[in-house]
């Protein structure tokens, strides 16, 4: 999948958004400027230069047939803070077709993202989205 480029993007993590996300999931109140740690994930996905659905559609995947998140890994280099702009670099790591109890066959798309501020990485995120496989098998990347 090296040929498929996801443009870089940016995510503004405002105090207001952190407050709203915390309220929505009954999270504890913020300590100083430290954002909820789930923002590593939110900034990675929300800040990359294309929507995840558009990435999937551009790859010919059935995002609109009920895509779900399958796995994720987040490694933190530093806490994310509010009122900070983050640069997000994203790439397609792998695309695999696997047998699925739910769908019969499913496509597993893994994206890798780095969330950085002022040139320093704050979080490295890997996430796998699973979708029912449409039509003929997708060729796995080399």
């Amino acid at each position: 999948m090296d040929h498929f480029a996801i443009p870089p993007g940016r995510f503004l993590l405002s105090a207001g958004l952190d407050d709203a996300i915390r309220r929505s999931c009954a999270a504890p109140q913020r300590r100083a400027k430290e954002a909820h740690p789930v923002f590593a994930f939110v900034a990675a996905l929300g800040g990359m230069g294309a929507r995840v659905g558009d990435v999937c559609r551009a790859l010919g995947l059935a995002f609109d047939e009920g895509a779900v998140l399958g796995r994720c890994r987040i490694d933190y280099d530093a806490p994310l803070t509010v009122d900070t702009g983050y640069d997000v670099a994203a790439r397609v790591v792998s695309l695999e077709r696997k047998a699925s109890r739910r769908f019969g066959a499913a496509d597993h798309l893994t994206l890798g993202m780095t969330v950085s501020a002022a040139g320093r990485p704050h979080a490295r995120v890997s996430l796998t989205t699973i979708m029912p496989a449409p039509g003929p098998a997708v060729q796995a990347p080399a």
Binding site: A27, V42, V68, G70, R73, D75
Partner: protein
Amino acid sequence: MSAWELGAVPAEAMALWCEALGDDNAIHVDPAAAEALGFGPRTVNPGPTNLAYLLNMVMEARPDREICSIEAALLGNVLAGDGVLARGTWDQDTCDAELVVAPDNVVLRARIETDGRDSDDGEGFRSQRL
């Protein structure tokens, strides 16, 4: 053992998460779309929101710790109105956590590693360990 509970997942919060995530998957905001795709007649909570519940548990249980890494497998769905229970067992700095929908349906498992807040370089960045 740590635990954290939410009595009913709010449907109206899902749109906020979708906007922040740039996720236009209709199963999160349109009950008809969720039903048409086999999820039943309620909207599906975004996966990162479910992960946030586990992180809430860790933050409440160990407010002196900083989260270093998360490895998570999403095994099932949480629907609008579901009650959820996050629970975790600790081995020193590591929490093996799971999110359960009543009565006992595990929908998310994660290993969450934490560290003390005194190991950064003064700018919030962790020291490199050799």
